[in-house]
Subunit: 139 residues, 3 copies
């Protein structure tokens, strides 16, 4: 069994941002040398997400609108977590809805994706360096 580990760091310009990281993950799969296996990609911070969806700008805005409707950033007093001095209570909930991680099959040395699947890093409390873990196991 082969295994491969890499840490990516993202610092977004905005508090909330959605980055397409598919090409980076593809490159790491090739680098790992794994032909058949699984690729785990997860946010290492609890106010960010890794998820798979369509690379369409309007859709990312729809996700953002949806998340702001059900777990708005303000008023920050809405969240007990913010009594600790934080202002990111909403970000913990937003990331939970979008998901911490994806597990993607590797087949024939490539991410085994449907036609529109792309991997996104979803940031909900950005403007500082945050990490993503890529772990690949297989043969």
């Amino acid at each position: 069994m082969k295994s491969f580990t890499e840490y990516l760091t993202f610092t977004t310009k905005n508090r909330r941002e959605y980055l397409n990281i598919t090409d980076t993950i593809e490159t790491l799969v090739r680098k790992s040398g794994v032909k058949e296996g699984l690729c785990l990609v997860n946010a290492m911070h609890i106010t960010a997400s890794v998820f798979i969806n369509d690379n369409e700008r309007g859709l990312m805005q729809d996700f953002d609108d949806f998340l702001e409707t059900i777990a708005p950033h303000e008023p920050t007093s809405r969240y007990r977590h913010n009594r600790t001095g934080e202002d990111n209570g909403d970000a913990h909930i937003k990331r939970t809805i979008m998901g911490r991680e994806v597990v993607v099959a590797i087949t024939g040395g490539k991410l085994d994706f449907g036609p529109w699947e792309q991997i996104f890093y979803g940031e909900f409390d950005g403007q500082r360096p945050k990490r993503v873990l890529v772990k690949i196991i297989g043969e």
Copy 2:
């Protein structure tokens, strides 16, 4: 390490539908010959879901009602994604809430499930062929 890959195709009659695919996955686990390992099952389209819950018809209606309440199909103008000519902006959000994938343990050659766990394919923009990936790794 053994690995096994299979693609399933589903064409639902309705726009939204929930299919119990547990027996099919069980059959593939046996076919794979893997006794101890992991089984990934994921939608390959970004408007469909694979999730685990109870095989109870009322519950599936509850999920559908819940999803329609928080991310309704209409008015389709509600979603920026639909400005591309699509009408499935809601389906991208519904699938995100229900989840893209499940990872299930294989123990003793079987899906290692609790008493009520069943695997469902959740379709949110159906009436056309869409694929599900099954990837099994282990020994």
Copy 3:
């Protein structure tokens, strides 16, 4: 390839409760002897969740408030599932939002976690024994 399987049982005092199970999972990772691999932790019941977030009491209350707002327990007549004689329709939806499972990388014999990542068992219909599966594969 090594594999390791363990079943944990939790009986919460309250209907809804959030338990930090990180230390238990860490202990099992050491016991497995796996140095590089993946660790799956999933609820085996369909009204409970395993998720990763911050170990902060106010945040857990925020999650609980959020879940009660979008899928309240009462009135129980709100859910068709409860026509079967159950009163836990809400718990199926709450668990779906929080997620059934987490997959965590194992690197150098340890859970490969960011600074704040902790594993929680989320119970939404407790006061009875319910199981969590831990499956570890790797080398």
